[in-house]
């Protein structure tokens, strides 16, 4: 008999060592998230995946699943508050979807749609953040960075490099690049690196590819992020199975 938790009234199984997010994904249940990707060590910073576990708020991506947990996710309050947290991310940076080449492939935008976000609600910060276009193939616009650290983790955990880090404190947090000059061109980042492709927003983009896929045919143009997310986690799982992991 495998162990189980209850998620929004549904009993789902989990294995020892799985987080609530792992268990939910395996059961085909989507919990909104931005800083999480099943392949990398969970970070727990965006707080979109906050669920209520036995009356307490926890990040589903980091909190271990434990026998008998009563987990609430799709409550009215949590959905509304996730929308507010998404709006915080929107006003903190400069997310101008119509002028962004990531539009339609952007997870931040897709989560916004999924949560029925119709305005930014909070006053915009309009931060003055840097663009680094020094690299021949990759460009970074920190205006669109949501500090999820997926690039940091992908570079370390998959590319075997350490190109990115998050520096600064509080609202002044920002990405830095591992080069003496501090410029992206002097790091060992290559366009084929996983880190160059993992950004959930348009902060890290590959040069000269922006409009290869026309608007209208992009990932989230016809599918909501919950479907895409579950399908991709399934694909990762299948791949792991094929490699005998």
């Amino acid at each position: 008999m495998s162990k189980t938790i209850t998620l929004d009234g549904k009993i789902i199984p989990f294995e020892e060592g799985q987080t609530i997010m792992d268990a939910a994904m395996a059961a085909g249940i989507y919990i909104p998230h931005l800083c999480h990707q099943p392949e990398f060590t969970p970070h727990g910073s965006c707080k979109l995946c906050t669920v209520n576990v036995n009356g307490r708020n926890c990040s589903a991506c980091t909190f271990p699943a434990m026998e008998g947990q009563e987990v609430l996710s799709e409550t009215k309050e949590l959905i509304n508050d996730r929308r507010r947290i998404t709006q915080m991310l929107f006003v903190e940076g400069n997310h101008l979807c119509p002028g962004c080449e990531k539009s339609g492939n952007c997870q931040l935008q897709a989560v916004g749609y999924h949560l029925n976000m119709l305005d930014s609600h909070f006053p915009h910060f309009y931060p003055d953040r840097k663009v680094d276009a020094s690299h021949s193939d990759v460009m970074i616009d920190q205006s669109r960075c949501i500090l999820c650290t997926l690039c940091v983790r992908a570079s370390q955990q998959e590319d075997g490099k350490s190109v990115f880090a998050v520096s600064g404190r509080g609202i002044n947090k920002h990405l830095i690049f591992n080069a003496q000059s501090g410029l992206l061109k002097d790091t060992d980042l290559e366009a084929a690196d996983r880190a160059a492709h993992i950004c959930p927003t348009g902060a890290i983009i590959i040069k000269r590819t922006g409009y290869r896929v026309p608007i209208g045919q992009r990932v989230y143009d016809h599918q909501e992020i919950d479907q895409v997310s579950l399908a991709s986690s399934l694909a990762v799982e299948t791949e792991h199975l094929e490699h005998g992991e």
Partner: protein, 628 residues
């Protein structure tokens, strides 16, 4: 520079965990962390340059760009403000001819604000090159300006500028009977280590940092871990504005605190301990080192303590200006030489702490109490206090009272008794437990200090009826935004949004919907933040909104909406360019009841005939403009 950095790294045995200690020495010597130093350290310590940069940019006392040879910081705590800080820093800026936040052109001096330096009973306070300055007044400011302009070395500055007093006004169980050096360890060995844990359990001692976890339980959990390598950490990162009792305990009772750590080490089986001393208490560092040396000489620290086969030593780590490091997992990150970002829990430090090993983190006062309990037994301690809060609590009292300082009381004491003792009258309210605690009004002075009523880490700031509560709320809210580590969205963005929203209301730009917006924001920050900082950052607003809604409402304009955008402020550059400052060069953006509008928002259509208006909407769409 190369040689200096080489020697500093060598003295730290090239350990990356010593990164903050190394950077502190570089900052002290060069008044910034030069680029070359980062490159050199990266090679010497075998860590990435990005780790070093992220540490430099995280802690307030490190800088990538040069600060002055005299780095002057003035404490920005509400208690400093109550003692006239604003006027003093302006005076200092004028005397030194340097803007606040800037370095003077000749590079001699820089001036800035800093979070509470823990001198609330002897403020206004500051720091010069890390060393505490107290009781600043006009004469002291003039003297400092003169010394800086003469470029007098710090050791030639008059000692009274740096004088730090204990100001103990009321001693109880702990402060009355300082134990003899070594007596707690001897009692522990004599009684037996497990038996001593029982005594601590019997005493009912709970963590004195504020959260109140049972000390004996924490130590027992740690002792039961599989992993043999364990650590004891003393949290002396007393950063909660209005708290300064740990500074006094370390100044006058350090031996007993170290002894408490040694007993903990014996119980949990740790060989290494750390005191994480907040950077603001640099003035205590050398004294603490010499007490540690003395203990080593007396066989109370080091190998085979008291010939009982116990090995334990203590190292002091200084912080570098980050309130968040008072959170235990952030403190551990900082001890490891990283930015102080709270970890995801579980696992908890007691199973995965310093370097991933089982670690007990306790407050200075907890270790002090544990040492006393080891000598006097659990019953002695448990006889005092309330049912759920045994023993005494040491308070840091500041603000509007005749005798600000240190007071030790049995738990269960009423706020009213404390106010009488410290000479406070005409009291409007008290901030109990610092900004992250609770503001209580004059209707609640019969409430008791105890975990079951008003839990506190010891901060007790008194406000008399001449004070404006919103000034305190404003100060505290800015404090949290400044100190947020930035890890999670609700705290990083939310504390900055709270700051904007409070500024809007305090500056008189709030409209009726703004209180509702503020309440919603408070709820989001409180319920969704990653750690205690974010979860309590809205407390100053929440606790005062509950009690003084009318004060907030008085600030509001009698309109349903006002934009956060300051239309008139945005015209400032244009006014300067046009060299105009007449009435016509200003725009008021709202019509407040009772005031005469200079202009309205949306702009009124005065002078435009009704016929012209009919087709117009606000904002005018661009497309319409293009068609014409």
């Amino acid at each position: 520079m190369r040689e200096f950095i080489q020697s500093v790294a060598e003295n730290s045995q090239y350990q990356a965990t010593h990164l903050l200690q190394i950077l502190r020495q570089i900052q002290y010597r060069y008044h910034y962390i030069p680029h070359e130093a980062i490159e050199q350290l990266s090679a010497l310590l075998n860590i990435s340059r990005t780790q070093i940069i992220s540490v430099v940019e995280f802690y307030s006392f490190f800088h990538l760009a040069p600060r002055g040879q005299y780095e002057l910081l003035i404490s920005d705590s509400i208690t400093d403000h109550m003692l006239g800080k604003k006027e003093l820093i302006d005076h200092l800026a004028k005397k030194l001819n340097v803007a606040i936040g800037e370095v003077r052109g000749d590079g001699v001096v820089s001036l800035d604000n800093t979070s509470c330096t823990g001198m609330c009973d002897q403020g206004p306070a500051g720091l010069v090159n890390g060393y505490a300055l107290t009781r600043l007044d006009h004469a002291a400011i003039d003297k400092i300006a003169e010394l800086v302009n003469q470029q007098k070395p710090l050791d030639e500055w008059p000692a009274e500028l740096f004088q730090v007093d204990d100001n103990v006004y009321k001693s109880g169980l702990l402060l009355n009977q300082q134990i003899e050096q070594g007596s707690a360890l001897r009692s522990t060995i004599k009684r037996g280590i497990t038996e001593t844990l029982w005594e601590i359990d019997k005493s009912g001692l709970r963590g004195r940092g504020g959260a109140g976890f049972k000390t004996a339980m924490k130590w027992q959990f740690c002792s039961e871990e599989q992993q043999p390598e364990r650590y004891v950490v003393c949290n002396a990162d007393e950063g909660e504005p209005g708290t300064f009792k740990d500074k006094v305990l370390l100044n006058s009772y350090a031996d007993q605190v170290f002894e408490g750590m040694a007993i903990c080490a014996a119980i949990i089986g740790a060989k290494q301990g750390f005191v994480y001393l907040r950077g603001e208490y640099l003035h205590l560092h050398d004294k603490l080192q010499s007490i540690l040396d003395q203990r080593r000489q007396n066989g109370l620290l080091g190998n085979n303590i008291l010939n009982a086969g116990l090995d334990f030593d203590i190292e002091i780590h200084l912080g570098a200006g980050a309130y968040i490091c008072g959170e235990e997992s952030a403190l551990i990150e900082s001890l490891e030489g990283k930015p102080g970002i709270p970890r995801n829990r579980p696992p908890y430090p007691v199973t995965h702490g310093y370097l991933g090993k089982p670690t007990v983190v306790n407050n200075v006062e907890t270790f002090l109490a544990a040492a006393s309990i080891a000598v006097n037994g659990g019953d002695w301690f448990a006889a005092i206090g309330t049912e759920k809060s045994k023993g005494t609590k040491i308070l840091s009292i500041s603000g509007d009272c005749a005798r600000p300082g240190i007071y030790e009381y049995p738990f269960g004491i009423t706020v009213r008794t404390i106010l009488n003792d410290c000479g406070a009258d005409d009291v409007l309210g008290v901030q109990v437990g610092g900004p992250s605690g609770t503001f209580i009004s004059d209707q609640e002075f019969d409430r008791k200090l105890a975990f079951e009523d008003l839990a506190t880490g010891g901060s007790f700031i008194i406000f008399n009826s001449s004070r404006n509560i919103l000034d305190a709320v404003h100060n505290f809210t800015h404090f949290f935004a400044h100190e947020s580590c930035g890890f999670c969205t609700p705290c990083r963005v939310g504390t900055s949004l709270l700051k904007k929203q409070i500024d809007k209301i305090v500056d008189g730009h709030g409209a009726s919907g703004d209180i509702v917006a503020l309440e919603e924001l408070c709820r989001l920050v409180k319920n969704y933040s990653h750690c205690g900082l974010g979860q309590t950052a809205a407390n100053p607003i929440i606790t005062t909104l509950e009690r003084y809604l009318d004060l907030y409402e008085k600030q509001l304009k009698d309109i349903s909406f006002e934009p956060g955008f300051d239309l008139d402020g945005a015209l400032e550059t244009a006014r300067r360019l046009a060299n105009r400052d007449d009435v016509g060069a200003h725009l008021a953006q709202t019509v407040a009841t009772g005031s005469v509008p200079a202009a309205t928002f949306p702009p009124s259509m005065d002078g435009v005939s009704a016929g012209d208006c009919r087709e117009q909407s606000w904002p005018p769409s661009l497309a319409d403009g293009e068609r014409t």
